[in-house]
Each structure stands twice: as C-alpha cells, then as structure tokens.
Symmetry: C2
Subunit: 423 residues, 2 copies
Amino acid sequence: MENTLEKRILNGIDARRNDIVKFLQDLVRIPSTAGDEGQIQKFIASSLQDMLPKVDVWEPNINELKLHPAYSPVEQQDYRGRPVVVGILKGKGGGKSIVLNGHIDVVPPGPASAWKHSPWSGDVEEGKLFGRGASDMKGGFAAFVMAVKCLLEEEIQLNGDVIIESVIDEEQGGNGTLACILRGYKADAGIVGEPTNLEVHLAHSGSTWFKVKIEGKAAHGGLRYEGVSAIEKAIQIHDALLRLEARRKRSAIHPLFKAYPNPVPLNIGTIKGGVWPSTVPEECVMKGRIGYLPNEMISSVRRQLEDCIKQTAKKDAWMRRHQPKVEWLGLWEASEIAPGHELAKLFKTTYKKVLKRKPRVGASPWGTDMRLLVNYARIPTLLFGPGEMRQAHSVNEWVRIQDVIKATKIIALTLIEWCGYQD
Amino acid sequence: MENTLEKRILNGIDARRNDIVKFLQDLVRIPSTAGDEGQIQKFIASSLQDMLPKVDVWEPNINELKLHPAYSPVEQQDYRGRPVVVGILKGKGGGKSIVLNGHIDVVPPGPASAWKHSPWSGDVEEGKLFGRGASDMKGGFAAFVMAVKCLLEEEIQLNGDVIIESVIDEEQGGNGTLACILRGYKADAGIVGEPTNLEVHLAHSGSTWFKVKIEGKAAHGGLRYEGVSAIEKAIQIHDALLRLEARRKRSAIHPLFKAYPNPVPLNIGTIKGGVWPSTVPEECVMKGRIGYLPNEMISSVRRQLEDCIKQTAKKDAWMRRHQPKVEWLGLWEASEIAPGHELAKLFKTTYKKVLKRKPRVGASPWGTDMRLLVNYARIPTLLFGPGEMRQAHSVNEWVRIQDVIKATKIIALTLIEWCGYQD
C-alpha cells in the first residue's frame, strides 16, 4: 500500500526524469579512468554543494592508506588532483544513518573503434544510455544523488544522516572508500550502487590480481633457436592457469552464487612480451584476476595459483632454472551479510512498492567496496543498482534509463523508511 | 707473401689499437635506436669530416623513398634530425670504386636490468667490448672508418673511390641505404659490415615482418565466460605459426646455408593484448618475422603464413566470424652474389695475408642492406665484419676487440688491392 507521501515521491521522480538522464549523461561524458578522476569529482562536488549544506572534498594521503591492512597497492601512488567527495545530509535526529557509496572511476574503454557510440558519448538510443561507466557505476551513483535531491526538493526532512560517498580508484582496489573509512565516516547501514540489474545482493565474490613475469633469452630472430621465447613459456603458464580455473569452477559452491555458470573466473586480462618483431622475446608479463567466494580463504586461493605456476615450471627445463615470478597486486576481499539483516528486509518492502514484485536476492560476481564497509568499517552493506552485470567493463556499455529511474525510486523510499522522516 | 707496404699497414693498425677501441666505445656509448639516430650521426659526420675532404649529410625525404619498390614501411614517418652520413674519398683515378656500408641504428636493448654492463657502457672486459650494437654493427663500421683512416695517415693514395655510408633505419627495413642509392651513390663493389664473425658471406636470407591482430570480446573478468579472450585466440595462432616454422625448416635447402640448424626461423617477437587485468581482452596483437632463402619467392612465403592463419581460424567458431588480420610490415629481401665474384676472390687473398688461413664462406641468417645494393643498385656486395652472429640483438651484446682489429686489417688490405694505390 502506497501512502500519499510515497506517491508524491514516486511522481516527483517521474517528473524529474529528464534531470536524472541529464545528470547521468554529464557523468558519463566526463572520462574518469583511474588517475584521471579530477574533473568528474569537481563536477560532483559542485553538484552536491548545490543541494547539500556540507560537502567534504579531500585528497587521500597514500602513506596513511598504506598503514591499513586493506590498502590496495596501486601503480600511481598519488592522489593529488584526484579527491574523494562526500556529501553529508544531517538528519533531524533520532533516525538511523546510511551510507550511499559509489565509485566514479571507470575501467579503460579499450579501442574506441570497437564502440558504436564514443565511450564518452552518453548517447541515448531506444531507452538506453551508452558510455563507459553507464552501468559500472555512474548509473547507480546518479540514482543515489537524484533520490536525495528529490527528497530535498519535496521538502521531506530525514531523521537519520545520509552520507553520499563519491569515491575514486575502486577499479584498482578501493582506496577511495578506504579513505572515507579512515576519515571517520560511519553509519548504521550502507548501500553500494554497483550494477546488480536491480537485484539485491547480500554477498559478492572476491578477487585478487596477479602479475606473472616470465623470463626468456633474447637472440636475433634469424637465430631464434639460440634464444628462448618468453612468450612460448608464458603460453604454458596461461594454459595451466586455464586448467586451474576449470578445477576451481567444479569445487566452488555457495547458496547465493547459484545463478553463475562459474562464480570464480580466472581471467588473464593482459599480456605483454618482447620488444622487437625480430628479437626473441626475453620477457613476458601477464596480468589477471582470480575470483573466489566468501567461504574461501584468500591465502589458500593464492597458494593454489602459486602452486599451479610452480608445478608448470617444474615440468619445463628452462623454467626450472628461471622461475616465473608471481606478484600479487590488488585484492578485493569477498564479503557477505546475513540474509535476515534489517536493511535487506526493508529493501524487499520498498522494492515491492515500486515494482509490484519481490526482488531477486543473490550475490555479485566480483569484488566491490562493500567488503571495506562490511569487513573494516563494520557497516552492514548491500549492493543494489541499475545496470546489467554483463555491461560492466564491456564495449558499448549501456544502462537502461528506466532502470535508473526505478532504482532512484527504490532508494528514495528506502531512505525515508530507514532514516525516518518529517514531512 | 706480405710486401713492405702491407706490413706498414698492418703494423700501423696495431699501433692504432687504442684509437680503434676508443672510436668504437664512442659509437656504442651513444644510444641510437630507430628514430633516435641524430646524435650518433652528428658524431660520425664530425669524425669523417676530420679525415675526409667531402662528407655528405642529408635527411632522406620519406615521400621520395615511398615511390621506390624497396621502400620499407616504418612507423615513424620522418627523418628530420636523423640524417644519413656519407664520407667520400675520391681516388686518384684509374681504380675500382667501393662502398663500405654500415648501419648505426641498433635494436632496443630490452630491460637494462638484464644486462651485466649498461647497454650503452662500452665497457671492456677480458678483451670484449660490451654494449648494444657492439656486434650489430658498430664494430664493423668502426673497422671501415679506421681502415680508411690508417691508409690516409700512412699517406697511401688510392686510385678508386671509397664511399663510407653511415646509414639509419636498417633494423626497420633499410631506408637509409635506399636513400644512398636514390642519392646516386654507386660503386664497382660493396661491403656491408654486418657481424659475420669474420666469415665472408656471399648471401643472406630474407625476412618479412608481420603483424597479426586478433579480436576478442570484452567482458568483466568476473563474468569472463560472457566474453571471448583475444589472448586465448592469439595463442592458437601462435601455436599454428610454430608448426608452420617446423614445416618450413624441413623444406629449406641452400648450399650456402648448411651451417644453420634452421635457416628460415619464424620468430614471434612481441605480443600485446588486453587493457585491464580484470577485463576479458578484446584485442591481441603479435608481431614477428618469417625468414626465407634467396631461392624462395617472397610472395609464396607470405602466402604460406596467410594460409596458415586462415586455416587455423577456420577451425575455430569465433575466429571464423572474426578473422585475424594480417598486415605485412618491413621486408628484407634475400640476396646472393656468385661465389666466383672478383671481390670474393680478393677477400680470400687478403684474409690469408692477415690470418694465415682461408676464410669460411657462407651466408648470413637474416636480411641485410646487401640486398638493396645487390638487387637495386646492382653493386655486387658481400658481408664481412667482426662480431658473433649470436650477439646481434642479444642481451650483454659484445664484440671481441681482437676481431675488430683483424677486420680493420683485412678491409685495409682489400681496399688497396681493389682500388689500386700510389704509395
């Protein structure tokens, strides 16, 4: 049963549809790959300042982050010009507080020629808004901001605080959210706006990035039998890692992850070997990620990968003497909250009010900043956002505009119930 | 039988040993990878100007080069600041002329950490001079210059002209030597100072560079089964190319190439795929070279490689619809001269005078600028220089100083016999 206030909010969001699309287009049109988040954070800070009494903008101190066990090693060791932005809406008092967390960094779009629309176009076609980050996760972030904006414009005063976190560097590990935690932001619950296709995700798998460096022996290509191709050796490792993936897929079992053909993919994402077409390549580096479940230990997952590489090297005369070197890069721990948590239950109610059906409850197939909020700030958090999961990191990424609107509505209704309100 | 003049020359070269080492060190200490040959050419121009009445320094016109069938496509389409340098010693008249051709560009050294001495050190240890280009082919070029310098300092006047060509961009194809041909430099014979380990090479194999671009389908690494890894597809092509190499090795037969375990290596020198560790790689590019013999047709060699890739793609459902794209880059044609050529015979005589034994006669296992002089300028040319072939393009490249001295001596005696002289 919708009450009058809820109707007003839902109608208000429908009436603001163009503003919501415009805001999301603005976000998508500002490129914001890791290291290059300055411009978008400036835009977001200014947008939040227009609607909220308090906006906190600061550049994280990398040395402080490094002292934390959840620090993610990153190549660009500097946050100058790449601030975190937090907008704070103080409640009247007596209500529960909530964090709405979204990352505004995106992964590189790859060759632009592969895209139908430019990766930074924000073009709308057949109800879809296109661009890198449309799903992952500027769509979810837009829903957060616009839900709060609508409540403010409708002059609904919340009792509990709402904290909107626009974080950087999530795609490389999550140091932006970690910086929020170190700065002291805390709440009774949290939502991270990852693309869940409007499902409610109470868990997510983890992943850890690795780098394998394989040595060869250079020689002129015309005498290539005098050298040892690091690319050929890397291929042996690559093949062995795919066999490891197949073994892990068979043994990975968790009730929230049943929907996935493989909840623990091992992806070799980049390879780079050699310096010259007619020189035998003397070095080859592969980087990738290995997924794991909340019911696995990261240390044992890493050991499986290291052992796999060691065993492969053992079978090769060259690699026995020139061991491939494994380095662990980013880590996104897995995390989960109890299916019976109060926020999860509330979501089911508001979801039904907006969409007239129960939400699908499940888990996300990748690491997210939820883990930092759950495991380190002890903020019970779930994942919810528009955008299909398969759009994330894909060419021609898009988000369905209708889903952004639906998410905005569900968030708005959840906020008034969670925080309490005065009309 | 050495005569007095020959003795004077050989002793003169021994007396100049330190100057020769110093000159080669100077050359090795100036990095000169493709595109970056400006500084070394300045140094060489100035060195030649100190000893020769005429030095020609000019920046090749790429548009003019492109009109020539032997033009090598290069990425950096500009020779500004990268001149060719030619020193001319006019003979008194009545003698045969000769071109002494050497390239001073070198291939990239790869990771400096793999080198014992810095790649640009020129350090001397146990009679070896270390550095990128020491063998390929600053050693041979130093022998040319120092042989001529010695004759000049000994006041021996030659009858025929000597043309010393210091060329750029050989490692990417040979546009520097082509520029010399277009500028009109011509002679009765030629020597290219490639590292032949003091063997006399009357032929060399050819090679052509290729680039294969393989398409995949991007997806988030956590849903990698929704994507198609371009790296995995590239590995299928890589493996097929190695099988092609094995087939070609069995069928490659030429009398001058008997010494080589495989006279036609197919080297995959570089691989680059993917943009992000947790994104399924949607593009992978491999670059390499395929070797061939003077008795093969380049068109048929290229067809073999193209067919191999096509056949491999045919067996794969994804590649059938997303054909790998092959592009042909540099071409170094094979070439050979008749074993009975006058210069080849003279070399046997002067070789015996210096080293008291007959030279080994054979062929070089890679493309060289000899092909341009032989096939396009119709200058009968052979390859001769210090430096072991396996040093070329290798880590810790070195040249034996004693071999540079020996080469200098053989060149000097060859010059006086070939050109004729007045003492």
